[in-house]
Symmetry: C2
Subunit: 146 residues, 2 copies
Amino acid sequence: MPNNQFKKGELYSFITGKASIAIARRLQKKFNASGLQLTIEQWSVLYHLWKDDGKSQQDLCNATFRDKPSITRLVDNLEKLELVKRVPSEADRRINKIYLTQQALKLQEQTMAMAEETLNEALEGVPPEHVDLCKEVLQQVYDNLK
Amino acid sequence: MPNNQFKKGELYSFITGKASIAIARRLQKKFNASGLQLTIEQWSVLYHLWKDDGKSQQDLCNATFRDKPSITRLVDNLEKLELVKRVPSEADRRINKIYLTQQALKLQEQTMAMAEETLNEALEGVPPEHVDLCKEVLQQVYDNLK
DNA sequence: GGCATACGGTTGTTTAAACAACCATTCCAA
DNA sequence: TTGGAATGGTTGTTTAAACAACCGTATGCC
């Protein structure tokens, strides 16, 4: 017998992830309000490159939890915006390494500040220990299903 | 000073909602494996109609946290699948009331069972009281931002 | 060396989301 | 009562996700 039974009224909200959608929308609005022509999905790719530039597209698939075609097209669009450049790997010619442009490096500080601000607004009034526990639950869910 | 400060490494996972994406993908796979030609988004509309048939499109917008064009197109596709019918309201001719077909009523039991199964898989090993607290946090986040 | 297999990436197609612009109906207030 | 605002819904456009099919390169085994 499973250890968690659901009342039907609770079921839906867990599947749809309204909270993370709301966070993403809020962050997108901040980008738009600042005149940044950047989608959250594009930002999420830059985010991982700021941490570790020169990742392959496959690395970005793993990091962002997206499939290969999704990353191909996100990189396409980021290249059009001149925020990243595909550089074929010398060692393995199948691989594209993705590098940030100067323009993209300049966006890091501003957009990360907006992301932190958004999270602070989202978690207003939530005790930090509850946040930690919530993160653990969501991580466990992810691990259970991936 | 905000009551929650984020280390950068933790920030991304909260924004992307990997857990709910993983849940939705798992449920979609169950639909596909059962031969159901039904997307999660379409299912989410049916879900609210099973609870309360004859909702307007605007009601569905509020219930599903989607905008009007999204619901227009979801209802378009559900009508093509002959799972719902638009019925213009007698009282207010701007309004379409959306009614389930017999075919859609038959899907309820099967798909709700799959949804509950998916959630039980997702929350395997998570103490019920942690689930409750997690739901509260996510609800608070949603309320903070909506 | 040669061939099957795996891997990294791209392309095509369908579905959906966000946003702006639009139309018809209804409501309200001067 | 009529003209403007609000409401419910649709359409157009861009971006993205999922899935299948595909191509070129690398790997490993005989």
